[in-house]
């Protein structure tokens, strides 16, 4: 009889990136007994890879900057599909979150007034990103990590959650296993926060860490939550393209923020054609499509990218402002970026879509279930501006943590039905036990999924490609359901882990492809070759998804508006119309 370790908490946070840790801190500080569950070690979450900075309208560089302009920029960047309330809360609260980080020991670069320095970034009207060199994400995660361990939060490292546990309609806990030993454990929670990040690993060329397998999207979906905007996937314009082993590795937008220029193989600064006003600092969707188009039309570099050049800048300046980029190219590509241009191309970077939540509390429609960060959708609309992710993590991490505590305080004790634990355990054990008749290799299946998604649901999409992708992914979904770990040893078994992750990734892939097929227009992180323009209907509608198993139910719903913000939106739309 297997022993299943049991834990009781008021609030359980799944995910230990920026938003998960911020949620856990908020919950613990509000007095809740809190646990945070990390799929990897604490401090290794994908947030560490954020480079450029965090957009906050502190006005340290440009005094007239304020939340209204930030809100307008965010809405414009998202092509007005954002949840207005979320964009508003984000723009209003992120300066406080940045200052709070300093109070917890974070260090940011300074300006001449000894305040936080703010750098320029694509889509932001003013210099707005607080940063430390080009490793702002690491600073954020380390600060939150230290705050967490001194906030009376229990941390479960290298623990994989395979299923959320429900009592009736309510989520009351989670089941999983400890990776190093394979021991099972179940949590009971009065409120549970999903902070599981994105799902970049469904694409081969991605800047995402291997942890980004869409676990939260799938867990929430199976628990009955709705997802929104899943068709919008941000392809970051500049990922490395060579050598093959590092293809997709992020080249921070700060390279362009600091003055980097893009050229094609004719030496033309091609952004003049696509966005003469903002040039290299146009929004990410535009720059990514521009590079893709240049390469596709035969004006790419030898390894199939564009040239990103900082050689006109002072070498020492480049080394201080972009130290890890300098290192990364020197070490991995043998390129000295102060002397030679970089070769870059689009790489899957961020999921605008995600779990649909209440803007103020992070509550999903499932009682007891909350979500925050990249795992949620709405804040960024159809395209996220660079620098708007780190702030999103903190603003909504804190709000989800507080929302969860409120819920925990409101309801009485919860109990996890034994049956739910047994079911979850049986499934995990079955995966591990292996199956002589099914020798499917999970690693190979993962590559097939990436192949299918890259070919049919990548940066440019059309009906035919999407239908092919959906058909392929549906087959892969079935195969993933029957997948078993290639080895049955419980301790640190990577194949076992991948079985679970593949099911999550195929679920997410279906959402993306089906959402993309339904949205017959091009907007932000969704470009249809067969519908290249904006569409009036779709400019007012988000797609919600829910369902059972592979049977997704897609429902277009009107964008969540907020009347007091309409004036700001109109103002920006008029400005845009005037400059065209």
């Amino acid at each position: 009889m297997t022993v299943i370790e049991k834990h009781d908490y008021d609030v359980v946070v799944i995910g230990s990136g920026g938003s998960g840790l911020r949620a856990a801190i908020a919950a613990a500080e509000a007095g809740a007994k809190t646990a945070v569950i990390c799929k990897s070690l604490l401090g290794k979450a994908h947030t560490v890879m954020a480079e450029g900075g965090m957009a906050a309208s502190l006005g340290n560089m440009v005094p007239e900057d304020n939340w209204r302009t930030h809100f307008q920029d965010t809405m414009f960047g998202g092509k007005y599909l954002n949840n207005w309330r979320m964009a508003e809360l984000h723009a209003k609260e992120v300066p406080d979150r940045a200052i709070e980080l300093e109070h917890w020991g974070a260090i940011f670069d300074r300006n001449d007034d000894r305040k936080m320095h703010q750098r320029a970034f694509g889509g932001h009207t003013h210099n707005r990103l607080v940063h430390i060199g080009d490793r702002t994400g690491l600073e954020l995660i380390r600060t939150l990590q230290d705050k967490t361990v001194h906030s009376n939060v229990d941390v479960f490292m290298e623990t994989t959650i395979t299923r959320l546990l429900k009592d009736g309609d309510r989520v009351v806990g989670a089941f999983g296993f400890k990776r190093p030993t394979g021991e099972y454990l179940s949590f009971s929670s009065k409120a549970l926060v999903l902070a599981t990040g994105g799902s970049g690993r469904i694409y081969k060329i991605t800047s995402n860490s291997q942890d980004c397998t869409g676990d939260g999207y799938a867990l929430a979906y199976h628990a009955g939550a709705q997802l929104v905007d899943m068709e919008f996937v941000q392809f970051h314009p500049t990922g490395m393209v060579f050598p093959p082993g590092v293809a997709g590795l992020l080249v921070t937008e700060a390279v362009r923020g600091e003055g980097g220029r893009l050229f094609n193989n004719n030496g033309e600064r091609f952004m003049e054609k696509y966005d003469p006003k903002r040039m290299e600092l146009s929004t990410r969707d535009v720059v990514a499509r521009s590079i893709y188009t240049e390469v596709k039309e035969g004006r790419g570099s030898e390894h199939g990218g564009a040239f990103l050049d900082v050689t006109h800048l002072d070498g020492d300046y480049v080394k201080t402002r972009l130290p890890s980029m300098y290192e990364q190219f020197k070490e991995l590509a043998g390129v000295d970026i102060t002397k030679e241009p970089m070769q870059v191309g689009p790489t899957c970077h961020y999921f605008m879509g995600g779990i649909k939540v209440d803007a103020d509390t992070g509550a999903t429609r499932v009682p007891g279930l909350f979500a925050t960060g990249e795992a949620t959708g709405g804040m960024n609309g159809s395209n996220r501006l660079g620098g708007n992710s780190l702030g999103d993590l903190l603003v909504f991490g804190r709000r989800a943590g507080l929302g969860a505590v409120e819920e925990a305080n409101r309801i009485g004790p919860v109990s996890v039905p034994d049956g739910a634990v047994e079911d979850a355990h049986a499934r995990a054990a079955e995966d591990l036990a292996g199956d002589e008749t099914n020798k499917e290799n999970p690693y190979a299946l993962h590559k097939e999924l990436q192949q299918a998604m890259g070919a049919g649901a990548g940066i440019f999409r059309d009906k035919e490609g999407l239908e092919t992708a959906i058909a392929e992914v549906e087959k892969i979904y079935e195969r993933a359901l029957n997948l078993r770990a290639p080895s049955s040893r419980p301790d640190y078994n990577p194949g076992w882990q991948l079985c679970q992750e593949l099911r999550n990734m195929t679920t997410v892939s279906l959402m993306i492809a089906k959402g993309a097929l339904l949205r017959e227009e091009s907007r932000g992180g969704h470009s249809r070759l067969d519908f290249p323009a904006y569409d009036d209907y779709w400019s007012e509608h988000n797609i919600l998804q829910d369902g059972v198993g592979p049977d997704l139910d897609l429902t277009p719903v009107p964008v969540v508006r907020k009347d007091d913000l309409a004036e700001l939106i109109d103002e920006r739309k008029q400005q845009e119309a005037a400059t065209k």
């Binding site: 990897s40 070690l41 401090g43 290794k44 979450a45 994908h46 560490v48 890879m49 502190l58 200052i99 300093e102 109070h103 917890w104 020991g105 260090i107 940011f108 670069d109 300074r110 000894r114 936080m116 430390i132 060199g133 490793r135 690491l138 600073e139 380390r142 230290d146 361990v149 001194h150 490292m157 190093p180 860490s209 291997q210 060579f242 050598p243 093959p244 082993g245 590092v246 590795l249 992020l250 290192e327 990364q328 070490e331 991995l332 590509a333 043998g334 390129v335 002397k339 030679e340 290799n441 999970p442 690693y443 590559k447 080895s487 040893r489 301790d491 640190y492 078994n493 990577p494 194949g495």
Partner: protein
């Protein structure tokens, strides 16, 4: 391209084993140009040995998960290019030696997290404004320490932990870096000198600089963190002259 990249057929010897025993197992594979050791290990995992345990996350030298001993030296697998290793001999990949083994290339690094919990975190000094004012010079000094990605290779290579097993008495280079980042933070309000000298055991370090040699972030651990901490301890404990001239202790910092 300023450096040539080579692919080709390569041999690897990878440690396979559990807590008690194991062995180096030979693998062969065809490599692409520019591949790093982690690419090779993952390729072996995908095509030959689905059971091979390896800890990794970002594959971009930013998270510090894939630390291992490659040809006997602690290195990040994701940052070590195959074509930078001798081509005429197999590449050995072993787990870090200073930590208990979990399986194959994975070690149990939880001790480090327990140490971190013992260090009093940043505590702002009294009377600071809501928006902190700080100079870039101070930011530069502290941010070097905050570049640490917690790969724990400095802990692995430190002979005090690796050979002498003094985990009870010495926090290790990673946490000297952490302590330095707090001690040199211009707005911190604690004086951790006694902790540094006693519980953290800075005196055990004999500044042989292996931590600095293996740091993938290029942090000058010994010169910029440990030696200044030793000097700060010397200020308070071994310098009679300073005792005469400077009786007050450190301004704005409370002893812990």
């Amino acid at each position: 391209m300023s450096t040539e990249m080579k692919g080709g057929h390569r041999q690897l010897k990878i440690w396979r084993g559990d807590r008690e025993t194991g062995q180096l197992v030979d693998y062969e594979l065809d490599t692409e140009p520019g591949m790093v050791v982690l690419d090779a290990v993952l390729e072996i995992q995908a095509s030959q040995e689905p059971d091979l345990a390896v800890r990794w996350n970002c594959k971009a030298a930013k998270c510090g998960s894939c630390s291992a001993e490659i040809n006997g030296k602690p290195q990040l697998m994701c940052k070590t290019r195959l074509d930078h290793l001798p081509a005429d001999e197999p590449i050995t990949v072993e787990p870090m030696r200073a930590f208990p083994q979990v399986r194959d290339l994975v070690t149990d690094v939880s001790w480090n997290y327990r140490v971190n919990e013992k260090i009093p975190p940043f505590t702002p000094r009294e009377g600071l404004p809501n928006e902190y004012l700080m100079g870039q010079a101070d930011t530069d000094r502290v941010s070097e320490f905050r570049k640490c990605i917690e790969c724990f290779m400095c802990q692995d290579v430190c002979h005090i932990l690796r050979d002498h097993r003094l985990q009870e008495k010495y926090y290790g280079p990673r946490f000297m870096v952490r302590l330095a980042s707090l001690d040199m933070h211009p707005l911190d309000g604690l004086d951790r000198t006694d902790l540094i000298a006693d519980q953290a055991g800075v005196g055990l370090c004999n500044i042989t600089k292996c931590c600095t040699e293996v740091c993938p972030e290029g942090i000058k651990i010994t010169d910029n963190a440990i030696i200044p901490l030793k000097e700060r301890v010397a200020d308070q404990r071994y310098d009679p002259l300073l005792k005469i001239f400077k009786r007050k202790g450190r301004q704005g910092r409370k002893k812990v």
